[in-house]
Subunit: 305 residues, 2 copies
C-alpha cells in the first residue's frame, strides 16, 4: 500500500479515531500519525496502549505539519476545535471530520478554515456500543460506507485523495451533498437511535415490570434496541441538536405511521397489519444481500458453558 | 437424560416446533414425536428432512396417544386447533402451547380441554428472523427463558414435569400468571416489534431517500430494527390482535416519552437528552451481564472475503 498522506493528525481519541489509527497501521498508508484528546486521562491511556505515533499536549501541536487533519470530536465541539487549530494548519493540508451530521459541521468549521487549506467533511458509517480510546480496532470500517460530503468548489483531486484514504481503511466511499446526507442519516441512524433510547427508557420506567424482568426476557426482541441505546450520550445529544429538522421530520412520519398501526390493533384490522409486516421483510432481505448484516440464527447469542 | 414424556405431539411445524424436535432428539427426552401441519407442503418438507418420527395427516391423528401435545400454531389459530384435537386427547395427557400471548390463548383453548386432561400454557422466549419447518435447530432454546403460565388449579406435578421438559431442551423456566406475562411481553417484545415494523415502513415509504440508500447505509443503526421487522407476519398479526390492551398501553407510554424527547430536540434541551441517554446504558449492561446478548464489536458483522 502506498502512503496517501505523509502526516495525519487525529483530534479526539474515541472509538472512531482509535479504529482509524489501527486501520492506518494495518494499511501502511501514512508515515506518521499524531493524536490529541482534550482529556488528560485519554492522552495517558493512548500513550499506554501505543495509540498514535505521538500524543500531543494541544490540538495545535498535533496538527502542526499534518497533511490530513481529522476532527473526531462530538459534533457540538467541532467549531471550537477548528478555531483552535486554524492558525497551525499547514498550507495545502486537508481538514476532514467524522461527524454524524454534515450541514451543521460544515457551518461550524468552514468559517475557520484558512485560504489554501482544503476542507472536506466525511462520515464513516460504523460503530459499536463501546466508546473511548481502548474501544478501537482495525477492522471497524471493513465493508462499511464512508460518505464524503464535499462543498461546491472543492478540488476534485483532494476529494479523490480522501476517498482513497478511506478505501485503504477498508471502507466503500460515496459522495453526497450535506442536506441529503443529513436526511439519509436521519432515517438510517438518528431516528432509530432516538426510538431505541425511548423504548429502553419506557421499559426502565414501568413500575409493574421490573428491570430484572426486562433484562431476563430481552431476547424476545427488546435486546435488539438496547445495543444502539447504549451509544455515547454526548455524541448523540450533539447529533440530535445539530440535525434537528431532518430528525424531527422523520420522527413526525414515524409517529403518523405508528398511530395508523395502533389504530389497526384497536379496531382489529388484521389485514392491514399483515400487509404492513409482509412489506417490511423485503428491506431486511436487501440488507442481508448487500452484506450489511448477517441472518445467522445465532446472531447475538452465546453459550455460557 | 431420562424420558420426560413417552409420546409428544407437535401441532404446527414452524421455527419453534422444528427446533423443539431437534432439541428433543439431542436430549433424548421423548420416546416418539409425531407432528402435524395444516399445509401439505409443510408436511412434505417435514418428511423430506426427517422432522418428527411420524408426520400425520390430521391433528387428531397426531395427538392420538400423546402424553404431551404442544400447540405451535399462530395465536389466532389455537382455539380451532384445540377444538379439533379435543376428542382425540388421551386421558391424563398434558396440552401446552408456545404462543406469545397467554391470556387470549387460555381463553380460546381452555373451554375445549376435556376433564382429566391438563392444560398448561407456556412461552419459550426464543426466535430468529426465519420461519418454516426448515428453520429449526437444536440449540434455539439454550440459555433462553421459557415462561410457564399455569392456571389456578393446575396440578403442581404436571407443572414440574413440563418445566423439566423445557429445561431438557436447554431453557431456564419461570412461572408467571397470564396477565403479568402479557404485560412483560408487551414491553420486551410486542411493542419493540411494532416499533421496528413502523420504522422500517417509514424508511421504505420515504421518496427522497431510496431503498438502496436505506440498505447501503443501514449499519448506522437502522439494521438493528430490520431483524425483528422480518419476523413472521401471520404470527405477529395474531400477537397484536390478541394482546391489544397491554400493547396499546405500552405504545401509549412510548409515544408520550418520544414526544418529550422530540420536544427537547426542538427546544435544544441538551441536558435532558444527555441524562436520558446516560440512563438507558445501564439496562444494556444488565442484559450483557445476564448472558442475553453479546457486546462483541463484530456483532452482526461479517467479511465478504
Amino acid at each position: 500500500m502506498t502512503v496517501v498522506y505523509d502526516r495525519v493528525a487525529l483530534i479526539g481519541l474515541g472509538l472512531i479515531a482509535s479504529s482509524m489509527y489501527w486501520a492506518i497501521k494495518r494499511a501502511g498508508i501514512a508515515g506518521h500519525v499524531s493524536g490529541f484528546a482534550r482529556s488528560g486521562e485519554t492522552r495517558r491511556t493512548a500513550r499506554e496502549i501505543g495509540l498514535c505515533d505521538e500524543i500531543c499536549e494541544s490540538a495545535a501541536e498535533a496538527v502542526h505539519g499534518a497533511d490530513l487533519v481529522v476532527l473526531c470530536v462530538p459534533v457540538g465541539a467541532m467549531g471550537n476545535v477548528a478555531a483552535e487549530i486554524a492558525p497551525a494548519l499547514k498550507p495545502g493540508a486537508c481538514v476532514s471530520d467524522v461527524g454524524s451530521v454534515k450541514k451543521a459541521v460544515f457551518e461550524a468549521v468552514a468559517p475557520h478554515i484558512p485560504d489554501g487549506v482544503h476542507f472536506i467533511p466525511a462520515h464513516p458509517l460504523a460503530g459499536t456500543e463501546h466508546s473511548g480510546p481502548r474501544s478501537g480496532f482495525a477492522t471497524l470500517f471493513d465493508e462499511r460506507f464512508c460518505l464524503i460530503v464535499p462543498a461546491e468548489r472543492t478540488v476534485p483531486e483532494e476529494v479523490a485523495r480522501l476517498s482513497a484514504f478511506w478505501q485503504s481503511l477498508g471502507a466503500h466511499t460515496e459522495e453526497m451533498d450535506a442536506d441529503h446526507h443529513d436526511l439519509v442519516l436521519a432515517v438510517t441512524s438518528h431516528a432509530p437511535h432516538l426510538i431505541a433510547y425511548t423504548m429502553v427508557g419506557v421499559a426502565d420506567d414501568l413500575r409493574r415490570v421490573t428491570d430484572s424482568e426486562v433484562i431476563k426476557y430481552s431476547a424476545a426482541g427488546f435486546r435488539d434496541f438496547t445495543r444502539i441505546a447504549a451509544s455515547d450520550p454526548v455524541m448523540w445529544r450533539d447529533v440530535f441538536l445539530n440535525n434537528k429538522d431532518a430528525t424531527l421530520e422523520i420522527l413526525g412520519r414515524f409517529t403518523e405511521e405508528l398511530f395508523a398501526l395502533q389504530r389497526a390493533i384497536r379496531t382489529g384490522d388484521g389485514a392491514l397489519l399483515h400487509d404492513y409486516f409482509t412489506r417490511t421483510r423485503a428491506i431486511r432481505r436487501g440488507i442481508i444481500e448487500a452484506g450489511q448484516d448477517t441472518d445467522a440464527p445465532d446472531f447475538g447469542r452465546m453459550r455460557r458453558d
